[in-house]
Amino acid sequence: MIAAFRIPGAGRLKQAETARFSFDGQSYAGVEGDTLASALLANGVHLVGRSFKYHRPRGFLSAGAEEPNALVEIKRDSARKTPNVRATVQELYDGLTAQSQNRWPSLSFDVSAVGDIASPLLSAGFYYKTFMWPKSAWKNLYEPKIRAAAGLGVAPDQPDPDHYSARYAHCDVLVLGGGAAGIASALAAAETGVRVILADEQADFGGSLRFESGAKIDGQDGFAWAQGAVATLKAMDNVRVLSRTTAFGYYAQNFVGLVERVSDHLQNPGRGLPRERLWQVRASRVVLATGAIERHMVFADNDRPGIMLASAARIYLNHYGVAVGRNVGVYTANDSAYAAAIDLKKAGVGVAAIVDLRDNPTGPVIDEARALGIEINFGRAVIRAGGKLRVSSMTVQPKNGGGERTIPVDAILMSAGWTPSVHLFSQSRGKVAFNDETKRFVPGTYAQDCVSVGACNGTDGLSATIDEAYSAGAKAAKEAAVKNAGANAAKGAKPKVDASESWSRGMLGAAPGAGADTTVKAFVDFQNDVTAKDIRQAVHEGMRSIEHVKRFTTNGMATDQGKTSNMHGLAIAAETLGKPIPQVGLTTFRAPYTPVTFGSIVGHARGPLFDPTRKTAIHPWAERQGAVFEDVGQWKRAWYFPKAGEDMHAAVDRECVTVRKTAGLFDASTLGKIEVVGPDAARFMELLYTNPWEKLEPGRCRYGIMLREDGFIYDDGVVGRLAPDRFHVTTTTGGAPRVMNHMEDYLQTEFPHLNVWLTSITEQWAVIAVQGPKSRDIIAPLVEGIDMSDEALPHMSVREGKICGVPTRLFRMSFTGERGFEVNVPADHGQAVWEALWAEGQKHGACAYGTEAMHVLRAEKGYIIVGQDTDGTVTPNDAGLDWAVGKKKTDFVGIRGMARPDLVAKGRKQLVGLKTKDPKVVLEEGAQIVGDPKQAIPMTMIGHVTSSYWSENCGRSIALALVAGGRDRMGETLYVPMPNGTIEVEVTGMVFFDEKGERLNG
């Protein structure tokens, strides 16, 4: 059954192909190819939403992306709920479910509409003035209440189950906008053979040709010509045509972001299809063919459902075959609305009257309207609209005052003229210029390699548009080809315009019925409920710049970004200020042109793909052992290995005790490793580390400290000298990339005379630490070619040989204070060697230990962790590491910074040990330390806890801390104030276990 307002035979849809859909629970029939808006209008539904602030009933203003009112929620299932979808761009599919927003209990009866009655309290800037006091009420009362009452749709409450894809593309000519201008440009460019991308936000190409019934190109109806031309373009290998694709952002150097809506219009999107696709396009030349947007008339109650742009009514009629009413009125200040009246009249719709603000306009459309018997009123204004949930009348008055006359209507089509869409041009940092004659901003100074053509360039008339666009397309192709090599001469012919329509001028600002002396609600910005009065008030209250007027009134700040309202708002502000428009200025256009989903920006970078996960060669073994893992940067590290029934505390205690009693195995593969090789390797190391390296014998190791130029500790690690020209450098796990960058920076830019190569070998070597009194017994049976005796392989030495038949770099070193080794083997063999060592270890009662036990064991020995016990403001001296700074060295990075007055002053924070008076109390890391707990708040903090653990080996808690003048406070009692009471601590040395270090050879 055909819907009540669908006109048989009108429009371009196949009216037999129906699609069922529901709106607010009610079922309707639409037609394939409808938008939700056209389908609702076909069923006579105009009321679709409530406004943001006043909860006023709203209908459709437009038929496109500029729609401010008709925002609905589209629901596919419980997770797929999209709020704030413009019904004018949502394509219909069978089974579509939509709901209105921002109303309660129902769309036609909304209790919050009292906001409309109470509106004198809600004028411009009301929230800056009304809700100031008392301060606490903002958080508890005003904000929650305002948020509940205002607002648009509701965000979905489940993770987005759809997927989004992304593509990068390059082209010679990118044409944005697929109306007559864009198509002509694309044709001209494509014929030369260069790579062209043509994108348009609509499902169908044609732009205004979708409604301009008077356009004829190459002997065809304009829309039919557009379809033929696009088919030609699609068939060319050098052209990519993207429909349903919005260019939302124009960035530096012709980098343009586009979003392609791939499946929102499909009833059953296949699982393989993304919902949207983000295109990031780099173009040699960009042609902007973004068209123009019609403005509404600003008069009292111009927001009643049924009042819409004249061009929208034409699209609904000429494209979708839908009449927006049975008896429409027209209110205009330019010619283009006449064409709407003529089209509707010819389709059998009653046109009650045309009200034209102009005094005595003449022209063919006016003659034609008159010939069709339409009543035309010149020099008159619509001063008010009747009706509430739907417009019922328009009240007309001579524009200079006089008798009123009320005309019953069920729709009003309005046009105040056309605003060139300079959004993308402006985003490209181009400067717009105001044309005083035509009263519009058009592209002025270009900042990038782009060109504007057609309506967005202020070019009137189809013939002039096609001329301009065709030659601009050819020129862009030629320029791009010079840059990118190779283009042929255009072989096609310029499209010939046989008939066209003209859109002349119009008006800006408030119409007489909403003039300066009225306080009626004549809306400028529908989506943010800004009226002409609000803008005048903002000026009266002292706003002078349009940027201030905009923020005070929120004009143009809604999701439609003022596509219909900016020019009106500007004109009213300029009139109130008594200044010409260009002096008041236009607000800045920013991306995105229309709202972009988070999904399309995020793409695949979510969940496991958000950031790479790095796992060591030994990870699978640890997993099988039931290890608990922690994240260290991108790495997964075994944190502890709980046995049945053990909690973390018990597991860590057992691991710590076992290591000191027998031995433990620890996966240290994540350590950063850099090989420094070359004839000048030692000289390079001298410059990058504080320590002396020239005299370090091959086969020996040294603990190295790296500073930044400012003298603060940057990284540390054990460095082994494998040969005179080869160092195996280790870094902290998290520091590896920045240390590599730091080294490369100095090598390439400050010390390029040094003959050195740097190679990251972190991933190439798996590292198994075997620590504890039994460590040598565990390793020795598996090693070939290395003498493991203390004489041949003393503490802090390194040998190359074989273990389990594979090459190894065997370090004798310790991060536990026990006799210890770090077995480096090629990563591919990491797990096999680990398992062999594990089997040996089992014979001795060794355990596997994780990062937590590693931390406790090193803290028992006072070994620091850079980044935990240091924070970028700690010098070697502060950390008690003066011994690691080569005293005779004349240069290294940080040598001068370290000597700055403040860095050698007394009273600096120094690293010390802390013992709580109650050995059972474990301090909190990060806790602040004070000298006198009885002082007044705020207390003077003299330091903070950097590391703190329960040490089962010591039978008490231990802690490291940075304390002002710490090394002079040995034995002093300090205090750590905590929420549940103050903790007394004693300042001690940093070594809590085996102070003499005898166990390194134990």
């Binding site: 940092r429 490369e744 920076d745 390439q748 830019t749 400050e750 390029p752 700055r900």
Partner: protein
Amino acid sequence: MLLIRCPYCEEERPELEFRNAGEAHIARSADMAATSDDDFEKFFFIRSNPKGIIYERWRHMHGCARFFNAVRDTVSDRFLMTYKAGEPKPAKLPGASK
């Protein structure tokens, strides 16, 4: 996203491949330890932060990994030229306007 020409690769590549490394042509003293406090302050802390032409270091991090120098207009974000590390500050800049 900016396009940056790597003077080593001789290719224009997207900004994603690069990392900024601060102002260029700030020489580290050959006798660092003897630098005065004032000179160290100038060397380490003071940067020109101009509105307009800046000489800065970049690294082709995810490419050839080389550090190089660039001349950029901080107002327009336009790169005027890039050149290899160690080369002197260019005496003449190519057309700054467009």
